[in-house]
Point group: C2
Chain length 181, copies 2
């Protein structure tokens, strides 16, 4: 039984070269990082964006930007492949994206948020997912400008998940639905 | 539109106290961390296990164990609520768990792995998910003793995701199916 479950070698993974990736179709799905404190989290989020071929990563406020030692350590080169831009004022960016027709969803626990397991991808695209500061979450000003909030139901004692982990779960779920649509 | 999307206050999150958590029903789902190098990743994984009410976290090989400064920093107390144990020899543990009736799945890219988006939870429980070293992944010896391997399809240039992120995606997907079953 073991012989068929040999680990793939690097060349067998079928990954794209950076040149191929630049030309590859991306999902109509972007991430906004609003005031992310940890550059390690920023790097992890870049790596996730590369793996799922997201369209763009918007870095806002105090979020560190490449090149940065701690981003590079966790992004492992994904900052060279994923399109990104920096915007000091996140609310202004969100206003512009929503004004341009994007659907803006915040990953945040609000009184009216949709559980991620009940969220159905639909409406206008691109879908822009905003994740916020490790302690404060997404700012109320950004939430007010968005189309909705998505929450990951939790069953334990902690108030929240690590932001790179929770964003990963949301990217997984939304990408799964987009690719199956 | 904004007034209904006010962020929840901590007391509105409805989280369990550690005492309530100890008595709460857990999912028939456990994590095995095999040779995880980064204690930060271990802490993140504990936090994920708490949030989804997993049954147990098995720490194996070189994986750091609580109390540990970097685990505490990212676990934020989840090491006090989630049941865990340490096992030097991961393969021996896996043999014992499989022998005891558990279904062992490894999160690893093999020639015969099931894509996570095609994985249907079923068979025997508890389901035990093994995640491996940040560079080497799950060892072939452990894969050989398991019932299957699950792979997250990737569309970018990087070979893998951060282990706390990829495990988070798998925990999300498997928990979602277990709770909807």
């Amino acid at each position: 039984m073991s012989d068929i479950r040999i680990k793939k070698q690097l060349r067998e993974l079928g990954r794209l070269t950076p040149e191929q990736y630049a030309l590859a179709e991306k999902l109509p799905f972007a991430l906004v990082l609003d005031d992310i404190r940890s550059a390690n989290n920023v790097g992890s989020l870049f790596r996730t964006a590369d793996c799922f071929a997201l369209q763009h990563v918007y870095l806002c406020g105090i979020t560190a930007t490449p090149p940065h030692r701690d981003i590079l350590k966790t992004a492992l080169g994904a900052t060279d492949t994923v399109g990104w831009s920096y915007h000091e004022d996140c609310a202004q960016l969100i206003g512009e994206l929503a004004g341009g027709g994007a659907q803006v969803q915040c990953l945040e626990q609000t009184k009216q948020s949709t559980p991620l397991d009940a969220f159905s991808v639909g409406g206008t695209f691109p879908l822009v997912l905003v994740v916020g500061n490790e302690v404060k979450g997404v700012s109320q000003r950004v939430i007010d400008l968005s189309h909705g909030t998505i929450e990951i139901r939790q069953y334990g004692t902690k108030h929240s998940l690590n932001v790179a982990v929770s964003a990963g779960m949301a990217v997984w779920e939304i990408s799964r639905q987009l690719r199956n649509a």
